[in-house]
């Protein structure tokens, strides 16, 4: 049953993706490996669209994956699955939250989890570079944008406009 699978997989994502933002990416890559609901290159497209549409990236990608897989109902299932763990956890924690922050166990878990989420995000980035940076032109664009991004913080839209135009020009000219 595809709807139940969508809820289950995105529930797992919502429950175990620590660190916000792009921390769901390794989970989405794993879902693509196991279920083939979308390909790795579609995942990259989804991330691009998620980053330039309103709302948190995690919600956008869950909705997109759901709609791609099983239409509007699929979108609702995936999104519901992704936020369900948060609904449960936040309502349990709210009220007693102040005590948790100084807890030795809580701090220790965060200490171990942070490098883990950093490593988990590194893996799909490597495979995205392998899949998309497949010629000198792409490598040059990547290096230029990367160096620029280290020096000044611009909104995601800036990078998409530049790289999108570069991609268009390259495809039309070669």
């Amino acid at each position: 049953m595809i709807y139940l699978n969508l809820i289950k997989e995105f529930f797992i994502t919502g429950l175990f993706a620590f660190g916000g933002g792009y921390s769901t990416v390794p989970f989405l890559a794993h879902i693509s490996d196991v279920y083939h609901w979308y390909s790795q290159s579609e995942l990259t497209h989804m991330l691009a669209i998620a980053a330039i549409t309103p709302g948190p990236v995690g919600i956008n990608v869950a909705t997109y994956a759901g709609v791609k897989t099983a239409g509007i109902l699929g979108a609702l299932c995936a999104t519901f699955g992704e936020v369900l763990p948060a609904i449960i956890m936040v309502n349990l924690i709210a009220g007693v939250c102040a005590k948790y922050k100084e807890n030795v166990y809580f701090k220790s878990i965060i200490y171990v989890l942070k490098p883990v989420s950093c490593a988990l995000l590194t893996i799909p980035v490597i495979s995205m570079i392998r899949d998309n940076v497949n010629n000198i032109f792409a490598a040059v664009i990547l290096m230029c944008l990367l160096i620029y991004s280290f020096k000044s913080k611009k909104s995601p839209l800036f990078y998409f406009v530049i790289s999108g135009m570069a991609g268009l020009i390259y495809t039309l000219c070669f």
């Binding site: 919502g14 175990f16 916000g20 933002g21 792009y22 769901t24 490996d33 691009a48 980053a51 309103p54 709302g55 948190p56 990236v57 919600i59 909705t63 709609v67 791609k68 509007i72 979108a75 609702l76 992704e82 948060a86 609904i87 956890m89 309502n91 709210a94 939250c97 922050k101 030795v104 166990y105 809580f106 220790s108 965060i110 200490y111 989890l113 490098p115 883990v116 989420s117 950093c118 490593a119 988990l120 995000l121 590194t122 980035v125 995205m128 998309n132 940076v133 991004s149 280290f150 995601p156 839209l157 990078y159 790289s163 999108g164 570069a166 991609g167 268009l168 020009i169 390259y170 039309l172």
Partner: protein
Amino acid sequence: MKLIEIYFEFFKIGAILLGGGYVIFPILKSELVEKKNWITLDELTEYFALSQSLPGIIAVNTALFVGNKCRKFIGSIFALAGVITAPVIAIILIANILNLLVNSKSVQGILWGVSIGIVVLLINSVRDIWKTSIIDKFTFLIFIAVVVLDLKFSKISPAHIVIAALIIGIIRGYFVSRSLKREAKEEAENDLS
């Protein structure tokens, strides 16, 4: 405050939120603390910090905390529904349009280019997390171990790695709390003598 008010407030926040969870803090501050006075800045800072250390989406977690603060469980549901309405509708519309466009060669070129932009954002994201997470030899070792494990067994689920990390974190917490207790005890003994 009325539930419908909570819904529309978070609907607005979801609609103007662009590009990742960290943007949400200044928006929430101006909307909820300064304009609406629903929560104090201290509470917001607390919720935001907590949302970052919980799994899931930071904006969603924060919305749930604020909703819970306003009207308990039902408030949290309305806040959540509000914050996800705009993105869900936007994506459903765009997904259908994109499916029609994706066969054109120029759209494929643009998407290929944009994927390079995504790689740039992701590398920056890794770099940001790295700065706050790889702080000593032990955390560096964890990073290397996870990368090696993941490359070696490509089908391993990230959920399993996170569960393993949770267990290691709890075990480490046990040793830290034991050594803290021992230190406290020694200090007390020194004070006595």
